[in-house]
């Protein structure tokens, strides 16, 4: 069924009636079109004479009339040039105006269906009484859950084909209730209907005296507009930090959309995952009176009393409210739309609210096999159109809520090869002792054959203890010049030293740019190479612009068990006590080299008696 509308019911911007979007879903041939056609007919939403026309046409062609034909007839009108919204149809009850989003039945259109249904406020799921729960009944149920559509009515259609047998209805209700329970949905009603006969669509049917619930139309009117989430804890994912200096504007504005809650001028706030804290100084806006607060739904901006270094992607929350969780391993439900399957050991990109972070599939718990109606265990990958529960691991910690608590910060999409290939919701964090980097290192250590030459023997021979010297800080702080001068100075003193110039090729890459695969690979390579060089007894010098705590932790894991020294040039954004030497500015390279050498000596990396 394509989209359609009825010509006398064009939605208008300033209608008195409340408006609600409903998605109608269900397995192919379970009677979705008939339910919608009957709803339109029984609510007098069809163009005048349309019903009679179609009935007459059926009679002429000696075929039985079906309500689904009404939709086809309207589709013809579409081709004849009536203004039609291609994915929606409209009807109204006494209570409100409805936009019916029609979910394509064919599986190839699932990504289009998702784009449309993601905007629905409630859903009607149609199940054939005779066929029972089928492939797409389950798949669509999963999708509703994932899309965050909580208000659902299940319509058991074609009851006339099972002689209005209450036990058939009860069996489907029991089976499907159990399934929906697993995906966290409780249907508001199960309604036995025959759309063809009009039973329980807009009027109560004498054929189902055992049923005491509402009609389909009543059930729609019983849906409630979900209030905007102002009562939930404040969550404002940081979209960007603006500092526009034109015309002496000195505001540094943290910009984002408030997804839930309220925050006021003077509130103490925390940025997660970094944990930085500050206080809201102003709520900013353009062509607006002075704002005292920012509420859910607004795209706004804040200035802070104390300047903190935060990055886009962090979530700004209130200190006095329940905080999001922070972690790298997430148990999720995922729906995969990618052309290629979701596989392990491949780097993808996760987008969660405004955060973008590399992610890997770590473990597949269960995959819903929609055709077999079973849950498959022991699957290694997730195929197109699969819905699965799995564990994801991100490169760096992300801040998130469980989707059941706050929807907007509890869901994500996965990018594969530039495309949004999957969507999912976070069930809970996973507590794990290891991560994929550590597992790789454990594997490496296991297969590593040690020789007779120990680290101490090498230290004695070279007159130094090996270490990785990392020079960090923002770009253009003179780190590379210092690194080269340091290498030269140590070399001239007879030290076994090497400056790893890899970073030169990546000079333009800093941590503030979008998640960069190159950077990620560079850091991994640095960790691995460092492990080799330091194991061989060398002092290795490397520079990394904008290194953060998580990246440092990864390098350390890979470099284990060798040591490292962190020398920071310029603004220091590391956690307390991370930096071994802080150089605010390199005015004199020679002096900076001396500082680093003094550090190496005082930490006993340069063995003095050798000199």
């Amino acid at each position: 069924m394509a989209g359609l509308t009825t010509n006398n019911l064009q939605p208008t911007a300033n209608t008195e009636l409340e408006q609600m979007s409903i998605v109608v879903i269900g397995h192919v041939d379970h009677g979705k079109s008939t339910v919608v056609g009957r709803l339109l007919a029984d609510t007098q939403s069809l163009p005048e004479g349309k019903l009679e026309d179609v009935k007459a046409q059926c009679k002429r062609n000696s075929k039985p009339f079906e309500y689904a034909f009404l939709l086809d007839a309207l589709k013809d009108e579409q081709d004849q040039g009536i203004t039609i919204d291609s994915a929606r149809c409209f009807f109204k009850s006494d209570r409100r105006q409805y936009i019916i989003i029609d979910a394509p039945g064919h599986i190839e259109f699932l990504k289009n269906m998702i784009s449309g249904a993601a905007r629905a406020e409630a859903a009607v799921l149609v199940i054939d009484a005779k066929e029972g729960v089928q492939e797409n009944s389950r798949r669509h149920g999963y999708l509703l859950s994932m899309l965050g559509i909580r208000q659902v009515v299940v319509v058991v259609n074609k009851m006339d084909l099972v002689a209005y047998d209450e036990s058939v209805f009860d069996a489907i209700e029991t089976e499907y209730t159990a399934f929906l329970g697993k995906v966290g949905i409780q249907a508001r009603y199960f309604i036995p209907v025959s759309a063809r006969e009009g039973d329980n669509i807009a009027t109560r049917s004498p054929s189902t005296p055992w049923f005491t619930g509402p009609t389909v139309l009543e059930s729609l009117d019983n849906f409630v507009k979900e209030p905007s989430p102002v009562d939930q804890p404040f969550r404002c994912p940081v979209q960007d930090i603006y500092k526009f200096t034109e015309e002496d504007d000195d505001r540094r504005i943290v910009a984002g959309r408030v997804e839930s809650g309220v925050a006021h001028v003077g509130d103490e706030v925390v940025f997660l995952p970094s944990g930085k804290t500050s206080t809201i100084a102003t709520v900013e806006g353009f062509n607006l009176p002075v704002q005292a607060e920012a509420v859910a739904g607004q795209s706004t901006g804040f200035t802070l009393t104390a300047q903190v270094y935060v990055k886009p992607g962090e979530i700004m929350v209130r200190q006095d409210e329940i905080q999001p969780q922070v972690g790298t391993q997430l148990k999720v439900n995922i729906f995969w739309m990618g052309r290629r399957p979701l596989v392990k050991n491949k780097r993808y990109k996760l987008k969660l609210a405004t955060a973008k972070v590399p992610v890997w599939l770590r473990q597949v718990n269960t995959v819903l096999d929609a055709s077999e109606l079973t849950t498959a265990m022991n699957r290694q990958q997730i195929e197109r159109h699969d819905v699965a529960e799995c564990v994801l691991e991100t490169l760096k910690p992300v801040a998130f809520d469980q989707t059941a608590d706050i929807a907007a910060t509890g869901r994500f999409v996965i990018i594969d090869n530039y495309e949004i290939a999957g969507g999912g919701v976070i069930l809970e964090p996973v507590e794990s002792q290891t991560n994929r980097i550590q597992e790789g290192v454990t594997q490496r250590e296991k297969s590593w054959q040690r020789s007779q030459i120990t680290g101490n023997m090498r230290a004695a021979r070279y007159g130094q203890r090996s270490t990785l010297v990392i020079l960090s800080g923002l770009a253009d702080t003179g780190k590379n010049t210092l690194a080269k001068a340091l290498e030269e100075s140590l070399f001239q003193q007879g030290r076994f030293v090497y400056y790893l110039g890899l970073s030169n090729a990546l000079a333009g890459l800093d941590a503030d740019s979008d998640v960069s695969e190159q950077r990620d690979q560079y850091l991994r390579r640095l960790g691995e190479v460092s492990h080799l060089f330091t194991d061989a007894g060398m002092i290795l010098i490397a520079t990394v612009s904008g290194l953060d705590d998580y990246e440092l932790a990864m390098i350390r894991t890979l470099n284990h068990p060798s040591d490292d020294l962190v020398i920071n040039v310029g603004d220091n954004h590391f956690k307390d006590n991370t930096v071994d030497l802080q150089i605010d500015r390199i005015d004199d390279v020679g002096q900076a080299v001396t500082q680093v050498q003094q550090l190496l000596a005082s930490r006993k990396y340069l063995i003095e008696y050798y000199l």
């Binding site: 990504k111 289009n112 998702i114 899309l147 965050g148 505001r251 910009a255 739904g297 607004q298 969507g423």
Partner: protein, 293 residues
């Protein structure tokens, strides 16, 4: 939040997402009401600043008042203003007003081609010099990979199929059937080299919403939309030769809103004064596939 506030918040979110995601980003400004609202939304999104360059494709047949208006606000709002033009077609007079091309061919040459090559940097760009107030010709500009456009879904059939972030391939082609999914405000902000993305922050707005917002925000819209006592005004702006005025005595934003809600235009398409729409079987789809905005 009322409907306009929700639309505004969503458009601002989209603009900021575009600004964050695309290094080579540009916004098209036709001087019409939609892209002027878009420009205003950018000032909202970026707190009074417009950190995104604006591009205007000048066919040379625009109503002179449009160019005057463009330059006045470009200077006043300190806009990074880029103008593009099909120099060759104009020089060879391969245009409809010169009698050497059909309306569609003319649109294709002066708008689609000019836009495509100005975006890619193959053709020269004229950049407003804020010191002199003149435009400097600049060659060899970088290609823009993100293009913000003021299209609305309700304008015309093919636009209702757009996404907020809509990819185009190397040939500017638009694959209507195979568009990326958009859910939970996650858009396609990743793109392969050689491709670019059209960004549509106004997709959910209707013509009425636009006027209501102009009224609420008191946006200085070009006065060609208003009747100045002759009983005529423009409802949609374009080239002088192909855009006719409509009979209407609405001389203020409030009057236009009234006219759209219940008056004579409540059932007449907005682009009814645009002749090129009619020449191609009534749809803009073939023009749009080739890059028309």
């Amino acid at each position: 939040m009322d409907q306009l506030e929700q639309l505004e918040a969503q458009s601002i979110y989209i603009l900021r997402e575009a600004y964050r995601s695309f290094k080579q980003l540009v916004m098209l400004w036709s001087i019409g009401k939609d892209s002027t609202v878009l420009l205003w939304l950018a000032r909202k999104a970026f707190f009074g600043h417009v950190p995104i360059p604006l591009m205007h494709i000048d066919t040379s047949f625009k109503v002179p008042a449009m160019i005057e208006y463009r330059d006045r606000f470009a200077l006043q709002w300190k806009l990074n203003m880029i103008v593009g033009q099909n120099e060759v077609a104009l020089k060879n007079k391969q245009t409809f007003p010169d009698g050497n091309a059909t309306r569609i061919e003319c649109c294709q040459a002066l708008k689609s081609e000019a836009l495509k090559h100005t975006l890619s940097g193959e053709w020269p760009r004229w950049i407003l010099n804020h010191d002199t107030g003149n435009y400097d010709r600049v060659e060899g500009g970088e290609a823009f990979t993100g293009v913000i456009v003021g299209a609305r879904a309700d304008e015309e059939g093919s636009r209702s199929k757009e996404r907020y972030f809509s990819p185009r391939d190397q040939h500017n082609e638009w694959d209507v059937g195979d568009q990326p999914p958009e859910l939970w405000n996650q858009f396609k902000t990743d793109f392969a080299p050689g491709t670019h993305v059209r960004i549509h922050p106004l997709l959910d707005w209707t013509e009425l919403n636009i006027w209501e917002y102009i009224e609420r925000e008191n946006i200085p819209i070009i006065d060609l939309y208003f009747d100045k006592g002759e009983g005529k005004r423009y409802r949609s702006l374009g080239c002088q030769t192909c855009t006719s005025s409509v009979c209407s005595s609405s001389s203020s934003v409030t009057a236009i809103i009234e006219e759209l809600q219940s008056g004579k235009f409540s059932n007449i398409a907005e682009r009814s004064g645009r002749e090129q729409d009619k020449e191609d079987g009534g749809g803009l789809e073939s023009l749009r596939k080739g890059g028309y905005m």
